[in-house]
């Protein structure tokens, strides 16, 4: 750590140094010192002259800076006390309304007083450093990151001695045994993770992601009121978010898991406006169709309905499905058609499922080949 004097690295002629400190031959032309190093043609003129600040030469200015810093630090306790007062004095329900701005008075008061208290410590300290602390630039020499050759040799010698003393070179099997032992002892800790969750075997998949609680005869109900749906209650162009009636039998985790798969969209369209393939003719009731609400892309519940185009848009990634064409993908990153729920009417005139979904709902997964799912133009 030296001062600002740059010693022989500075303006001394005829020798200069390039930025890596190598000696070069220099000469001075027109106030500029050049060097014979083709890569660094201009010699280092050395550090710039230090210009004193106003606070260095004018004691009045220094005093002023001192007063500023002291005032800032002095205001900190004021804000801190204000914080405490506001914490205990301002009721939680009090609000501040200022035009379109609206906030809790307690929140606003606590935040601004605490913020100002902290901020003033910072600004005061920086002002002190900038105005009053010495601002002479200083120079530290760097050392290459690499160790010296002597250090390298010494450590190698010591390592070698240690290896020798441990006798590992003569008793290699023992060394391998240790490595193996440490390696194997990690296995139990990996095994601990096996109970993170069930292993998604074929059987587990079949009763989880491949099935829903929909089955033949389950009524379609409104997803908020849980009132069963009747065909005559649904107008052409109307969309109803539905759930299976048996969702109400479930509690807790099972209910959440069912709700992640069983939601449906019930829409009524003019049968003359839409394409109904021959194989799905009896999946609908007078133009009322039911589709899974779960996007086949990553599983968001789809909800944005374009009545005139019969398109259903997912708000997450904008996959768009044509509900007038068996739920095929017309735009976006989803690859599979929206699964359609076959529906009919029960003896009391309510909409019910004819059977469960014929394909799994939600995102594709590796173990199932989805190429045979419904595609545009199939019958």
């Amino acid at each position: 750590m030296s001062g600002t004097d740059d010693g022989p690295d500075g303006n001394n002629l005829p020798e200069g140094r390039d930025p890596r400190g190598e000696l070069t031959q220099s000469r001075s032309v027109g106030g500029l010192v050049t060097t014979d190093d083709p890569r660094f043609p201009v010699a280092d003129p050395g550090m710039e002259e230090h210009l004193p600040r106003l606070t260095d030469v004018d004691e009045k200015a220094a005093k002023r800076a001192e007063r500023q810093v002291t005032t800032m630090f002095g205001l900190v306790p004021v804000f801190a006390i204000a914080f405490v007062v506001i914490y205990f004095a301002v009721p939680k329900t009090m609000t501040i309304d200022f035009g379109f701005l609206h906030t809790s008075a307690l929140h606003f008061g606590l935040g601004t007083t605490l913020g100002m208290a902290i901020l003033l410590i910072g600004i005061g300290a920086v002002q002190w450093a900038r105005q009053l602390m010495a601002d002479q630039e200083m120079v530290d020499e760097r050392h290459p990151a690499v160790s010296s050759q002597a250090d390298r040799e010494e450590i190698l010698a010591e390592l070698e001695q240690g290896v020798e003393e441990s006798q590992i070179t003569r008793r290699k099997t023992m060394g391998y045994a240790l490595l193996g032992a440490i390696g194997v002892v990690a296995v139990p800790f990996v095994i601990f993770l096996a109970d993170l969750g069930p292993i998604a075997t074929k059987k587990v998949r079949a009763r989880t992601i491949e099935t829903t609680i929909w089955k033949a005869g389950v009524r379609l109900v409104n997803d908020v009121t849980f009132m069963p749906l009747k065909p005559e209650d649904i107008q052409i162009g109307q969309l109803v978010n539905g759930e299976p009636a048996n969702l109400q039998d479930l509690e807790g985790v099972e209910r959440q898991q069912a709700m992640a798969k069983s939601p449906i969209i019930v829409v009524r369209m003019d049968p003359n406006d839409i394409k109904i393939p021959a194989s799905r003719r009896d999946w609908q009731v007078n133009g009322i169709l039911a589709y899974s609400k779960i996007c086949t892309h990553v599983g968001c519940p789809i909800s944005l309905w374009e009545q005139q185009t019969h398109h259903l848009l997912c708000p997450c990634h904008q996959s768009t499905f044509d509900l007038g064409d068996s739920g095929v993908v017309v735009f976006g990153p989803a690859a599979r058609s929206l699964p359609q729920l076959p529906i009919t009417v029960d003896s009391e005139g309510y909409l019910v499922a004819r059977e469960g979904f014929t394909v799994p709902v939600g995102p594709s997964y590796f173990e199932r080949d989805s190429r045979h799912d419904y595609k545009q133009g199939e019958n």
């Binding site: 032309v29 027109g30 280092d44 914490y87 410590i121 602390m133 120079v139 992601i209 990553v298 968001c300």
Partner: protein
């Protein structure tokens, strides 16, 4: 008071030829007791003597990393407070707190306690918003810091490992942010979790298994929030703390890089000492960052979870978007075409896997390997402590801007629905445009940036050889006009020529040493020659000593008048500056490239031999 006595003692000592005992100030007198006590047990004096006055260079761009560090400290502080009230449980409860609109609603305890913190804990909302703003700032500062490091070449030897630590910090920071974002279990963050479920499921071969492991069964289960909580407050912060410690230790060991300038050399560091200047400046800056985050938490609303409502798997809101730093992944997922493969009874969901896992992996792999690619191209084995001006490495700068452009278009994709609704354009067209733009945009950005850099190189050369424009127009008796130029300072001339210059290498010419190279080696060399041409082929060569001397002498002769170089007078201007720039940029660079390559590579070999 004690002055006369001290003077007497000093005189007596001097008379004896002894050094007088040093007189310490009042601070030391007060601290000498405890300090001595501690030193006897900890050896503080020896520990501190090398580091207490360590020099750090001064520049605003060095503050970016500090912002990241300080916001992390704020995250730890505010996070500890939040854990006092937050309940990481997905068990259902009925809300009966202050917020009327949610009273009687069934929700998870996680969501209920988050609303409780926001409305019933005094200052709870402040802590929550400070925590969230600090997280935003943490990621933003890390990204800006990494861009600063990238564009100035601070990742070069010996700092490659520190760059990798930084890349790791950024990757883990994103995951940490996402984990925290999911904890309130509101409708928006729950939708984010559902997306993650689909993302994991898309991983070929093992996706379904990992999904069941992470969620403890079928989505959503009741384990994911407690597990994310553990990761968010224990596992990941511990890793981040460890990485930060290593990151900072390496900064101290390598000493900070510095920008070029007079007196700045590869072998030194110029700046201010840690004590007292940087303790005040950096410590003060911590409080400034802390204070600003507090004010942001007080005045700027963020993530009002009470308006979103509790998460239920059959609901979603329009305009659903993640926190901004996940926007680029979200965008990639949105604009990806719906590609799916079916092979032998399996489904490969490229439409989710590529933009999700693939893009994140690509980003961090490319960032991680870049320093090593550039080192292979330059073949430079020396240490670098003087930062590059971005213009002096146009290809690197262009790469960086291209990557930023690509990121930007992906990020825009994350808001394609917002763009469509706000600007009344077709959502489909926005998506189609972005599908092309993420590929074409970076190429254009690369070409434009490279040209701008080379233009800036010319501007630097112009200043070096022709001086600075004085703004004074002189009219000649003949009627012509010219602008007076003034010579630049020696300091600036040195700054402009201080960078290390790389030149393209040639194979089979006289440029490289190839005594008995095999065919494979030749191929390797050819590849490298091509890479160096791509990297440095268009660079402006530094003016030679002769050119600089000539220009300086020119000023000398003309005295203060400064014979014009940017004349408005036609004939003169053409004759002089065109002649010069041709001769320089073309003739000079081509003419010299072979010869200089030899010098360049010899020098590099010498540098390694020195070791």
């Amino acid at each position: 008071m004690a002055k006369p006595a001290a003077t007497v003692a000093r005189e007596a000592d001097l008379a004896d030829g002894k050094t007088p005992p040093k007189q310490f100030g009042p601070v030391f007198k007060a601290a000498s007791g405890p300090a001595g006590w501690a030193d006897e047990r900890l050896g503080l004096a020896s520990l501190g003597k090398h580091n207490l006055r360590k020099i750090f260079p001064d520049h605003w761009s060095f503050l970016l990393g500090e912002i990241a560090l300080y916001s992390f400290i704020v995250l730890l502080l505010t996070g500890v407070f939040l854990t006092l009230w937050y309940q990481p449980s997905m068990d259902e409860t009925t809300y009966d707190g202050t917020y009327q609109l949610l009273r009687g609603v069934t929700m998870s305890q996680a969501y209920s306690s988050t609303v409780h913190i926001s409305f019933d804990i005094r200052g709870g909302l402040l802590l929550r918003q400070m925590h969230h703003w600090a997280a935003m700032l943490f990621v933003a500062a890390m990204i800006c810091h990494s861009l600063r490091v990238f564009f100035t070449g601070a990742f070069r030897k010996p700092r490659e490992l520190n760059w990798l630590l930084g890349v790791g910090l950024m990757g883990i920071g994103l995951i940490e942010g996402f984990a925290g974002y999911s904890l309130p279990d509101d409708l928006l963050s729950g939708t984010g979790l559902r997306f993650v479920d689909g993302l994991i499921r898309s991983i070929p071969l093992v996706g379904t298994y990992i999904e069941f492991f992470i969620f403890g069964g079928e989505y959503p289960g009741d384990l994911i929030i407690p597990r994310l909580y553990m990761a968010h407050i224990l596992l990941i912060p511990a890793v981040i703390l460890g990485l930060i410690a290593a990151h900072l230790a390496l900064v101290v060991y390598h000493k900070h890089t510095q920008y070029p300038g007079p007196g700045r050399k590869e072998s030194n560091v110029v700046g201010y000492p840690l004590f007292p200047v940087y303790m005040a400046k950096a410590g003060g800056f911590f409080f400034i960052v802390f204070g600003v985050i507090t004010l942001m938490g007080a005045l700027m609303q963020l993530n009002p979870v009470w308006t979103y409502g509790p998460y239920t798997p059959n609901q979603v809101t329009a305009g659903a978007q993640p926190d901004w730093y996940m926007g680029f992944v979200e965008g990639a997922i949105r604009i990806m075409p719906n590609w799916e493969w079916h092979i032998g009874g399996t489904t490969w969901s490229w439409n989710i896997f590529l933009p999700g896992v693939g893009l994140l992996t690509a980003l961090f792999v490319i960032m991680g390997v870049y320093p090593f690619v550039e080192r292979w191209v330059t073949g430079d084995k020396s240490e670098h402590h003087i930062l590059d001006r971005p213009r002096n490495n146009p290809t690197r700068t262009a790469f960086g801007v291209a990557a930023m452009t690509c990121y930007g278009f992906f990020w825009m994709g994350g808001g394609n629905d917002i763009i469509a609704t706000h600007f009344h354009v077709s959502l489909n067209n926005v998506t189609y445009f972005l599908r092309v733009a993420v590929f074409v945009g970076p190429v254009l950005a690369f070409l434009i940036t490279k040209r701008i850099c080379i233009g800036l190189q010319r501007a630097s050369e112009e200043r070096l050889l022709h001086g600075a424009e004085s703004g004074i127009i002189i009219r000649h008796p003949s009627g012509g006009y010219e602008e007076k130029h003034t010579p630049i300072t020696a300091e600036e001339a040195y700054t402009l020529t201080q960078h290390k210059e790389y030149v393209p290498i040639t194979v089979g010419g006289d440029g490289t040493d190839h005594n008995g190279v095999s065919k494979r080696d030749l191929g390797k060399q050819k590849r490298r020659a091509l890479a160096t041409r791509f990297y440095f082929g268009d660079n402006l060569r530094k003016p030679t000593r002769a050119e600089i001397e000539e220009a300086a002498a020119h000023f000398d002769h003309d005295g203060a008048n400064g014979h014009g170089h940017g004349e408005l007078e036609d004939g003169h201007s053409n004759g002089h500056s065109n002649g010069h720039s041709n001769g320089h940029s073309n003739g000079h660079s081509n003419g010299h490239s072979n010869g200089q390559a030899a010098i360049g590579s010899d020098r590099d070999d010498l540098e390694t031999a020195d070791r």
